[in-house]
Amino acid sequence: MNVFRMRLMGAEVNEMTRGGEGLADAVDAALEDFAQNVEDTHYLVGSVVGPDPFPRMVRDFQSVIGREAREQFVDRTGELPDAAVACVGGGSNAIGLFHAFRDDPVDFYGAEGGGEGSDSSRHAAPLASGADDVIHGMKTRVIDEDVEVHSVSAGLDYPGVGPEHAMFRAVGRCEYSGVTDDAALAAFRELSETEGIIPALESSHGLARAIQLAEETDHERILVNLSGRGDKDMETAAEKFDL
């Protein structure tokens, strides 16, 4: 559906058949195009990844999320949240939410694509389980070589992560963990059933982490970035659930 939408609006869509045929291969192809056409072309990087200035520029453009949310939260409750939670692929919706709260006593939680488990051989959780490396023009955390990058959600299916998240992890500002495909799918279904809101599979990872925190910690007020809607995920969900 998304490919048709893009074409309908006049964009040319190139299918990449090399490598793992996923997001990382699309980034490689876009970087090559950019190198050959720098005079007239802007590479519109979609997350807080890549070489400078992309990570800080994309963070600044996404920070409107946290600025609004902080004001709305204080207006509504008179207090700050105890925790802010978001899914992390490249990490733009998470950085966008966190930035306004970075100097506040608010705990940050990043939910990576845990795939079949962040200690398994198929996941997309370089912060929970990975090592320092260079990828796509940045030094950051990358999944180990013997791990196949995998997440049920295409938007989290990326071997690296934004460098600011690597820094947050190193200094202990944010706690990152992998949320498995199964846990994300359960949260996807639960929000649909309880609130009448169908979240994107990406966002369902953050939601699953928030539910864990509600059950296992003493956090009383938890703010979750519902970064996208799930319409695009109907086919995947229909294969998983027998409704």
Partner: protein, 138 residues
Amino acid sequence: MSSGDFDGYGGRHVPEPLEEPLEGLADAYDEIGTSDEFQADLRSLLEEFAGRPTPLYYASNLSERYGAEIYLKREDLLHGGAHKINNALGQALLAKRAGKDRLIAETGAGQHGTATAMVGALLGLETEIYMGKKDVQR
């Protein structure tokens, strides 16, 4: 230490031909992107084209079930159905002001590609999207 340095992470690890255009982009962002005029134009587009501000929603049923107050920032209600439009509008407006006439983008689930196609159409910029075959199929 450059401003793209995050305690030793980040930086600009690229082949030499990309150094200069990235430096040019950084300069354009620091000069144009932070100006009052640019920020005012971006704010209008975020409101009128993308649908900001998005609501903060108290998920009362979920909260009752788990015994904590759970609030959702509803970025799913933005034009295109994801937060991606915030960034796409900002970068496309910057590219246009910097004299570029073509946008390229990578996409995974297709949300960022969709956001880029939207702003390309809006601002009259040629747009080309790269997407893995595996992601096209799912």
